[in-house]
Amino acid sequence: MENAWIIPLFPLLSFLFLIFFGKRLKGASAYIGILLSLASFVYSLLVLFERFSSPTHKAEAVWLTIGDIQLTAGFEVNQLNALMLVIVSLVSFLVHTYSKGYMHGDDRFHVYYAYLGLFTFAMLGLVLSPNLLQTYIFWELVGLGSFLLIGFYFYKEEAKKAAKKAFIMTRIGDVGLLIGMILLFWQVGSFEYDEIFAAVAAGSISTTMITLTAILIFVGAVGKSGQFPLHTWLPDAMEGPTPVSALIHAATMVAAGVYLVAALFPLFTASETALMTVATIGAITAIFAASIGLVQTDIKRVLAYSTVSQLGYMMLALGSAGYVAGVFHLMTHAFFKALLFLAAGSVIHAVHTQDIEKMGGLWKKLRVTGPLFLIGTLAISGVPLFSGFFSKDEILIAAWAHGNTVLFWLAVIAAFFTAFYMFRLFFMVFSGESRSDMSHVKESPGVMTIPMVILGILAVVAGYVNTPWFGTYLGDWLTEGNAALGHGHIEGPSWIMIVATVVSLLGIFLAWLIYCKRSLSRDWLGAKTMYNILYNKYYIDEFYELTVVKVMKFFSLFLHYIETFLVEGLVKGVSAAVSGLGRLGSKFHDGQVQRYGTVAFVGLAILIVVFAVTGGYLK
């Protein structure tokens, strides 16, 4: 565990190596990426096992000394960090492997692997950070990695726009995080998590300040984790290669926001207002994104909205003081969402379209992808015995136990929506007859299906580490020795589990009636306007276009004019005056001796006059 700092270095090495030598390696660069990510996964696993038996390890060195303040850099392996290490490195390793098949034949194959390495490095570094400043550095690196990967097909206009959008939207959140960080530093005098928590526990920070900083830091998490109202970049990020979507949605980018809130959990629990904000935003996001997911027709977009919605769940859990529930769902979600995205990538790889209206009847053709997709769908829908069921149950119980009745019911409705749209997606892709020519469809190669199988197994069994039936190992372990994180398991009425099950089965049944058996009309939303509103994602993008973007454009136009006419005018005026003077001077230098003489004489005359008038030297 003392050498845990080495884990992020493997992907970094992969990044550096491939950036410099990838061009010569071409296809072989995949092996380097895969091997190095495997190394960091194995090492993470070792660290996790070691963490089971030994206490938190923290190592730090002084980085900068400014006045009497010392900034430190180092790493920390606590329960959350160890767990995150494994999740991130595992998903990253599987995505590396899968990409070998998916990205096969791409011109910039090695660049893709280099970016994957950078992205993984940033995320692994982030989860090892023992202080806010280091977290912030890696936080921005994660943003950079996502920008590069979303814009990987930069020759596509949409990809370019999506990359920029992702970068700018998350940046808006980052400003909040930065301000929150600075305020905390001002109050505590340190970026260290431990010292911040100690100060919070000792009550040396005023409640208002805690609330303010917690909410500002949450703004950063909102941007990164695609929470309402900064969620719009996440669906657009689908322009990147599909394995990247899996990585972004399951392990790296969006998990960072949830991780940040979890890592700073004691700060949030110190302020009821901050918790309430987190829970409310989470619940709103969950139901809001789920309702958009109901009508989307792009396979990846449906999954993207499901991610936004599931992240909302995690925030709701954290905001309801359900630390374990949030982290647990983060873990199970990482597995089944990575599975879903990889399976969706496999489908896209096979049929070369993302429009589910054009798919259908793929169950018979994709004998491996189909069942795996079904497993992922069952898991995310919260069907009993699958991982998503247990973690979602924990979240609902946490919300109920914390007294957020309204948010609880919102989450239940969102669970219904989730089950419905996920099975709508499943039935439209895999059941019935094909709606376009599907004769060329072949199953993906083993290098793509094996990672999916691994994730499929995890999506089923991952839930059993923390169940109300067999014991809450994960919860007990996560909260061990840290009372601030709450209990390992929150007791809740047993009807919640029944309600959750019924609701998700109802959603599945409804989807089956409409999209598989077709005994109900597909125009279930009857009202055309409602459908349009959902299809256009509540016109949020248009709203931003009309308000924020317009205002910003006007403002920048204004600044542009100031620049051209005032600043540039001034500069040009000065330079014109100087060069004009120079041109005037050069006119005299025409080689005419007599003109020189005249000038010299006139100058002398002037000197004498001045001398005569002032009666001596100029004073």
Partner: protein, 104 residues
């Protein structure tokens, strides 16, 4: 014998100098310019002689200086004329406006 006042000498020198300066700066014929320069030198000589008699400290040095100036002027005129002739052989002109090859 009523002596001529110093102001008269100085006025004469001033007028001579101004004529010389005007000629040196405006005439286009280089020979005239050289002559004008001689005029200015002579104006200075008049000053020197006048001050050696009526100056604050009358001394013979002024007159000797004037002689020196004449000698040097004679040498300078001969060198100047020689250059001018060489120039004329090259350029077929004595027009001072066209003697601006130093410019570029």
């Amino acid at each position: 014998m009523s002596s001529v006042p110093i102001s008269a000498y100085l006025a004469l020198a001033l007028i001579l100098f101004c004529i010389g300066l005007y000629g040196a700066l405006t005439k286009r014929n280089t020979v005239i310019v050289l002559i004008s320069i001689e005029l200015m030198l002579n104006a200075v000589n008049i000053n020197l002689v006048a001050f050696s008699k009526y100056g604050a400290v009358p001394a013979i040095t002024g007159q000797i200086f004037a002689l020196f100036a004449m000698t040097v002027a004679a040498a300078e005129a001969s060198v100047g004329l020689a250059i001018l002739i060489a120039l004329y052989r090259n350029r077929k002109t004595v027009n001072i406006d066209e003697m601006n090859s130093m410019k570029n």
